[in-house]
């Protein structure tokens, strides 16, 4: 324990539950509609439940996927909800009526990722190495050449002009209007999840080898943060682009990305584990700017 000069005031709980409910299943996907009115919860066994955001009242129960729903994503107008599952399908639901609008083939038996553009009607799905772009009425706009390995994540840039996918070997950037990728950020390692900074300058990835990787999207320059206890699956940017919160173990590490020095660190600045298999003995506290909610 660190020595403190003053005893801090006892923290008051500042968050109160507005409502609680349960879906009688393991939740696997949780998504707020863009208008903030509806919370969609996907259960592992398939059904998707829509709750009124204000009071938790049940709005709709969508059947989802017969064999395990894997992911959900809202359309920008908050009316359509896309879901993917282990039945090999991409489904688009009308949140108001509770009916299925379209059903598309994801390209493999497990469709694991789906993402509506935050700006347009584009919908991107990933099933294994298959990447498909749809319009909001469920028509296939484009099938991309297979990715090098299973696609682990899809994220749109906040202006909807680009989207990025991650897979083993790094990140690939796409413009939804172009068939060819805009850029590849290659990395010999397994990238598990990615997150754009709100201004689109950075892409952060969480990796299987217990690292966090940053890419500066304009230049392709990258830097890597070592020393996590476990693989990193949790990433969250603050709205002002300044902080990136990361999981990867029992500590939350928050990176301050505002300083002039950011992006100029050499790998030597980063504390490395003493041996690749003793990562659990190393705490990832280097360069921590703060912990908690910003």
């Amino acid at each position: 324990m660190m020595q403190r000069k003053r005893k801090p005031k006892r923290a008051q709980p500042s968050l109160k539950a507005i409502w609680r409910t349960n879906i009688d299943d393991h939740p696997i996907g949780l998504a707020w509609s863009p208008d903030g009115n509806t919370l969609a919860v996907a259960g592992l066994s398939g059904p998707i439940t829509l709750f009124n955001g204000a009071d938790g009242a049940l709005q709709q129960r969508l059947p989802g996927h017969a064999v395990d729903t894997m992911a959900i994503s809202w359309h920008k107008d908050s009316r359509l909800l896309a879901s993917v599952g282990q039945d090999g399908k991409v489904r688009v639901w009308d949140a108001e009526t509770g009916t299925q609008r379209s059903e598309m083939a994801g390209g493999a038996s497990w469709v694991e990722r789906v993402a509506f553009s935050p700006v347009d009607g584009w919908l991107v799905s990933a099933a294994g190495r298959k990447l498909r772009l749809w319009n909001s009425s469920g028509a296939l706009v484009r099938e991309y050449p297979d990715a090098n390995s299973t696609i682990t994540d899809i994220k749109w840039r906040h202006d909807g002009k680009q989207f990025a996918i991650s897979a083993y070997n790094g990140v690939v950037l796409y413009d939804p209007n172009e068939a060819e990728p805009l850029r590849r950020f290659e990395w010999q390692g397994s990238t598990l999840t990615l997150e754009w900074s709100p201004d689109g300058k950075y892409i952060a990835t969480g990796d299987q080898d217990s690292t966090v990787h940053f890419w500066i999207t304009a230049t392709g320059k990258d830097l890597q943060m070592w020393g996590y206890e476990t693989k990193v699956l949790e990433l969250a940017w603050s709205f002002n682009n300044r902080y990136l919160a990361t999981g990867g173990g029992t500590q939350i590490v928050i990176w301050d990305c505002s300083g002039k020095r950011f992006g100029k660190h050499s790998a030597d600045d980063v504390r490395r584990p003493s041996a690749p298999h003793q990562a659990s003995q190393v705490s990832a506290t280097w360069h921590v700017a703060g912990v908690g909610r910003q």
Partner: protein, 452 residues
């Protein structure tokens, strides 16, 4: 202290070439009444489909980590699928992972040690390898995958034994033991085996590392078979059919009498003869009997080949062949009939292939010095970790009252103190299974770690 209750789900990895009976075994496991709810991850498609909602198909996907270390090579597909499966934890209490016939078991095993989620929620119980007793001979010499699957196994099931002769089965078992002396070997037809032979085996369990019994290998010989024939003077024919090789080495040596001492003397002559310059002998040509006469019998294609030889001095002779005569339907014919050997002997093959997979077991009384042991093992794993598939050991370390038990897969190493020695004789047992293992160097290195 460390005997916490195991809440992790056990996983059995099932390997074996296509056609070895994996699907038959899986179907048996899924339908037999053994009181377990088993989830199955199937990597191999085709054969017979399995109808069960806890069966999930997977496509092998290997992740190498950026540091290029082989021990960080894991199976991404398993991490994803097992991770997802564990969310349905209440639906099953055991997991079987079937690999494709061409899979390397290394990354599969490592997945359970390298990935954090896997390590927390699952534990690798054992690698079970099915071997098609009839067709394995087509792969065992040339296929790295077949060798690795045998080498990594905790349990080996020799399946389809109804299709092979008892002698061939003995030969196969001997060959497999030379590659992996740690595994339990069972024989089966139609993959019928008691479930407790393949489930909860504890192959990676340190507590059970104590069970190891390093077997010293018999000396190796450059031939696989010998037969003793009493021969009168006259002409003989050695007839061979087609076999796995286009040629075979052979030597025919006089034997003083059928006593053991005489046989040993002739055996030594044979070893010397097999290291002499070979002389090619083709169809209808004459094989030369005698010491130093190393005949390389060149076979015809598509038909039998007859080699002649003449015996001047009647008496006992010992015929040594590089391969088992049965592999070539080979026989010795006198003037009138086929001659049966009085006595035969089989030898462990001395395979000179570079990629040979063997087991090296070492037993050494005394106490080891910890620093020396650490230095030796780190250097060994650094230099040969890629070629060491599995290792296990129980060690006596100076200054420690407890046994130190360990096990490893490639460069991943898991060890800890176990129960105290008490009055038992303190000794060290270690077993390595791998490729290109140098027994003498390993023994010597290990001996150097003894506390002086």
């Amino acid at each position: 202290m460390m005997n916490t209750v195991e809440t992790r789900v056990p996983v059995t990895v099932l390997t074996g070439f296509l056609g070895s009976g994996k699907t038959t075994l899986l179907n048996r496991i899924l339908t037999e009444n053994h009181g377990k709810k088993i989830a199955v991850i199937e990597n191999e498609f085709g054969e017979v489909g399995i109808d069960n909602d806890l069966v999930i198909g997977a496509e092998e996907e290997i992740f190498e980590m950026n540091n290029g270390c082989i021990c960080c090579t894991v199976r991404g597909d398993l991490i994803r699928i097992l991770g997802h499966l564990m969310k349905r934890r209440d639906k099953f209490d055991y997991i079987m992972v079937e690999t494709t016939g061409m899979a390397d078991p290394g990354p599969v095993a490592q997945t359970f040690y390298v990935d954090d989620d896997m390590q927390q929620k699952l534990h690798l119980d054992a690698i079970v390898t099915l071997v098609d007793a009839k067709h394995i001979w087509e792969h065992i010499d040339d296929s790295d995958e077949a060798k690795e699957q045998v080498a990594f196994a905790d349990v080996i099931l020799l399946n389809k034994i109804d299709l092979v002769s008892p002698e061939n089965l003995e030969k196969l078992e001997a060959r497999i033991k030379s590659m992996n002396s740690m595994a339990k070997i069972y024989r089966s037809r139609d993959a019928v085996v008691e479930m407790d032979k393949i489930l909860n085996v504890g192959g990676f369990n340190l507590e059970r590392a104590l069970d190891i019994d390093p077997k010293f290998m018999e000396p190796e010989f450059p031939f696989e078979w010998s037969g003793i024939y009493p021969l009168n003077s006259g002409s003989f024919e050695w007839v061979m059919g087609e076999g796995p090789d286009p040629a075979m080495g052979a030597a025919l040596l006089p034997l003083a009498n059928t006593g053991l001492a005489a046989q040993e003397a002739t055996l030594m002559d044979a070893v010397l003869t097999f290291s002499a310059d070979e002389q090619a002998v083709r169809a209808e040509e004459t094989m030369r009997p005698g010491k130093g006469q190393y005949n390389q019998l060149v076979l015809n294609e598509n038909c039998e080949t007859v080699f002649n030889f003449t015996i001047q001095q009647p008496g006992y002779y010992m015929l040594f062949t590089e391969h088992h005569p049965d592999e070539f339907d080979a026989r010795l014919c006198g003037a009138e009939s086929v001659l049966e050997p009085l006595e035969t002997r089989e030898y462990k093959p001395d395979h000179e292939h570079d990629e040979e997979v063997t087991s090296v077991g070492i037993t050494l009384p005394g106490e080891l010095q910890l620093e020396k042991l650490n230095d030796w093992l780190s250097q060994l794993l650094r230099e040969q970790g890629q070629d060491i598939f599995r290792m296990k050991g129980v060690l006596s370390v100076r200054g420690w009252d407890e046994r130190y038990v360990f096990q490893g897969v490639h460069m991943l190493f898991d060890g800890r103190p176990n129960r105290p020695w008490g009055n038992e004789l303190r000794q060290n047992k270690m077993i390595f299974i791998g490729r290109n293992l140098d027994r003498a160097a390993l023994e010597n290195g290990f001996r150097q770690c003894l506390a002086s």
